[in-house]
Symmetry: C2
């Protein structure tokens, strides 16, 4: 992508030897760097100073782009959430169980590769930071939406309130399972974890009475437990 | 319970018309009141001022007993956690599935009756308040311990790291499920919720390979899924 738009009036003059980037490119580069830094440290540890030093830009430029530390945090977290959502897109074709497994694999890979940053996001969202909480909730909801017909690439489950309640609780379980496993695998291989997570959602839906939308997709329609 | 112990030297003189309580009784009364208030408001909303006014005691007495707002919060949360732990004790006899169901019923009743306070505890613990987090983690771990042989009244599951990982993740799921259901039941009756939660743990353990400790207690030993 090229841009001939002039830099904002208050941006610093380009320095010799530094690649000339458009403001959009520079902003995207800073967000990528923030996500990368968050993979190995928590939000509290990710300061504007560390970022400015690592990126080789001034604090002033960071404030220019993001309006301060809170704005930078929110932009980094939104960027990471968008990345997580994009990476975990299930393949558009295939059996539901295969598509679920592919999506779960991408989620496990993402969390395992950046669990410090992911955990700090979970804590920040839960702890009352409203802006981060809103990003977290929207991402959580968007991931759930993939299971319902509203998403054209979704894995179609019956769209009933009880199924939605159970999918949400399953997401909470998977988040805890994968975060804990990332710190201490407990003798479970990545493939065994994938098997477990992928099989758990159909197994849980099978426990819901059929009149509440229960029954795993593709499962036999035999008599359920009483 | 009666106590003839003298009140601490710096406690205020008893007022006319107020029941004379020992310091231990007064402290326990204040904690009970704190838990009761937390059932309908969050930790942030539970101030020393509100408590003092509701209890009809001075701010000074509250500081005397708890050393300040943070100390009072921690004492209330510990008291609530002890209460949750005591109420959810499974019956000492019966089939594992019945004992699990009785314990789950007590948990659902507790959370449903005080979900605002419980949610604020979860958020406070997750959000970086180290003292509250430690109480939450210890309670979460103590509840899990009931599933293993270390607890004489436990519901014996194979005590392997993968089973512990899965029990912990199941707890996270149940917490989310019951908290969400408390706000919006989604057409699920309390009995149907109990059925679902009670059946979900054996179903999840059944998904673990047997060499990792999987298989529900009392489940048939038929061939598992590939």
């Amino acid at each position: 992508m090229t841009s001939s738009a002039p830099a904002p009036g208050d941006s610093p003059a380009p320095e010799a030897g530094r690649t000339r980037l458009s403001p959009e490119q520079r902003r995207a580069q800073l967000l990528d760097l923030g996500v990368e830094l968050l993979a190995t440290r928590s939000l509290e540890e990710l300061s504007i100073d560390v970022l400015a030093e690592t990126a080789g830009v001034s604090r002033g430029l960071l404030y220019h782009y993001f309006g301060g530390k809170q704005g930078f945090y929110a932009a980094v977290v939104q960027h990471a959430a968008d990345d997580l959502y994009a990476r975990t897109a299930p393949p558009e074709t295939g059996q539901p169980v295969e598509r679920l497994r592919a999506s779960v694999r991408a989620y496990v890979d993402y969390v395992a590769d950046s669990h410090t940053g992911y955990r700090s996001l979970v804590r920040a969202a839960a702890g009352g930071n409203e802006e981060l909480r809103a990003i977290y909730d929207a991402t959580f909801a968007a991931l759930a939406e993939r299971f319902f017909t509203a998403d054209p690439h979704g894995i179609a489950f019956p769209d009933t309130p009880p199924v939605r309640l159970l999918v949400r609780a399953w997401q909470a379980m998977v988040e805890d399972l994968v975060l804990t496993w990332s710190q201490e695998p407990a003798g479970i291989s990545r493939d065994a974890l994938l098997d477990l997570v992928s099989a758990s959602l159909p197994a849980l839906l099978d426990l819901l009475p059929h009149d509440l939308g229960g029954g795993a997709p593709g499962a036999s329609s035999g008599a359920g437990p009483g």
